[in-house]
C-alpha cells in the first residue's frame, strides 16, 4: 500500500505503524460520571467495519507525524489522507 502523505507525498506503508480506528483521537473525559464505562468502550470496543474505515497511522520511519487515513478494508484502497492534528482541531480539540 502507498500512503499519500499530505506533507511528504506518496510513501510506502512499510514506513508507518498502524494504531487503529481514528475514533481513538477522542479520549473520554476522565471526570465524567460514567468515565469508567466511557473508557472501557474507548479502549476496547471497535466498529471494525467492512468498507470505508478512518484509521490512525504513525509515520515512524519518516517525519513521525500521525495521519488519519481513510481506507477501504475490503479493497485496501486509500481515498483520503489527513494530518491527525488537523482532524483533531477541526473536530474541536484544542491541543
Amino acid at each position: 500500500m502507498i500512503i499519500n502523505h499530505p506533507l511528504l507525498g506518496p510513501r510506502d506503508a512499510q514506513e508507518f505503524t498502524y494504531l487503529g480506528d481514528a475514533a481513538l483521537i477522542h479520549r473520554p473525559d476522565w471526570q465524567a460520571e460514567d468515565a469508567q464505562d466511557q473508557f472501557h468502550d474507548y479502549l476496547y470496543l471497535r466498529d471494525n467495519p467492512a468498507g470505508e474505515h478512518r484509521e490512525l497511522w504513525f509515520h515512524e520511519s519518516g517525519d513521525r507525524s500521525w495521519l488519519v487515513v481513510t481506507r477501504n478494508t475490503v479493497t485496501h484502497e486509500i481515498s483520503k489522507v489527513e494530518l491527525a492534528r488537523d482532524v483533531a482541531r477541526s473536530e474541536g480539540r484544542s491541543r
Binding site: Y18, D21, Y44, L45, D47, N48, T73
Partner: protein, 416 residues
Amino acid sequence: MRYSGFRVIKEALTGHKGWGPAWRDPEPQPAYDYVIIGGGGHGLATAYYLAKHYGKARIAVLEKGWIGGGNVGRNTTIIRSNYLLDGNEPFYEMSLQMWERLEQELNYNAMVSQRGILNLIHSDAQRDAFVRRGNAMILNGAGAEMLSVAQIRKRYPFLNFDDARFPIKGGLAQHRGGTVRHDAVAWGYARAADSYGVDIIQNCEVTGFRIENGTCKGVETSRGFIAARKVASCVAGSSSRLMSKAGMRLPIESTVLQAFVTEGLKPVLPGVITFGAGHFYASQSDKGGLVFGGDPDKYNSYAQRGNLPVIEDVIESGMALIPALGRARLLRIWGGIMDMSMDGSPIIDRTHIDGLYFNGGWCYGGFKATPASGLCYAHLLATDTPHDTAKAYRFDRFRRGYMIDEKGMGAQPNLH
C-alpha cells in the same frame, strides 16, 4: 453409513455405487430450538456436541456460502496445547485430548498426525520463558520436554544452528502436537452432526436479527425468517459485521493472516517447527508441500489477501531458519480474516441480548481450538452457564481487568 476399511473394499468390488452424500441438503424449517450462524469448524462442532451431549433438539447451522469455506479451510492445520496462562492452557489441553479421539468418535478420517511441535530457543531469556511455559504445560497434563541442540540436530539437521545473530540454543517440544487435515474436520463434524438430525443449511446468509424487548426471537436470512429459541453467532473473521446487525460493538478488529505452501517435496520436515527470533512456523503436509506462515498484516482488513511486506518478512524469517527453503518453489499464498481480540484470547459468552450468544475472537489460534470450542459453546447454549475450561472467555473480562494476555504484549490487537 459407517465408514471402514471393509466398506472401502466392498465398494471397490461393486463399482463404488453405494456411497451416498455425507450430509443432507435440507430446506430451512420455520423454527428451531437452536440456530447456529456459521458453518465452519467451530459452528459444526457446536452443532454436533449440542445434538450429542445435550439431548434432542431441533438444531440448524446456517452458512452463507458452503461449509468449511472460511477459516477452517484457510489455516495452517496445526494443533498444540503449549500455552502458559491458566485461562488458556486447560482449555487447549482439553481440545488436544479431543483431537486425539476425534476420528474414532466421528468415524471420519481427519488425518490427525501427532508429529510433534518444537519451539526453538535462541537466547537465555527465551530459555527461561520456555522452561516456565513447559512447566505450566506439565502442570496441566499437556506434557513438554526441553530439547538440547544435539537432540534437535538429530531430527532437524538442516536448520541454521550456527547463525551469527540467532544461533539455536535448544527447544521446547510438545510431542503430542501436530497437524490435522483441516477440511476433513469440517466435513467430519458436518457428517456426524447431520447423523444426529442437525439441519446444515448452506447458501443461507443471515441478514439481521429479530430482537423484541431485549430478546432475540430469530434471524432474518436470505431464505426468509427463521425463528429460534437461542441464536448462536460463530463466524470468527466476520464477527463484528454480524453482531453490528444486533447493534453490538465488539472488542475485536479484523486482520488478514497469510499462509504459504510450496510445491510438493519428499519428506524433509518431520514435525512442526517455530522460529524463536522472528515470526515463522512451518510443517510439511502429507502431500509434501511445506506449509508455513508468520505475522498477520497489522491493519484492519476484510480482503482475504495480504500485502507484500509481510510476505517478504515471512520468507526472510524462513530463510534465516531453513536456508534450504530457498530451493523450494512457492505454489500458493492465501489470506484468511481473523477476529483479533484486544488481549489475543477468544470469547465464548452470552450477550446482553437474551437468546443471543457469541463465539469469536479466536485471533490466529482458532483451528486447534475447534473441538473444545464446539463443546464449550454447546455447553453454554444448553445450560446457560460457561463450561469449566472456558470460564475465562467472557466479554466483561476487559471491564473487570481480567484480560488473558498470553504473550504479555498489552491489550491492543496490533501488538499480538
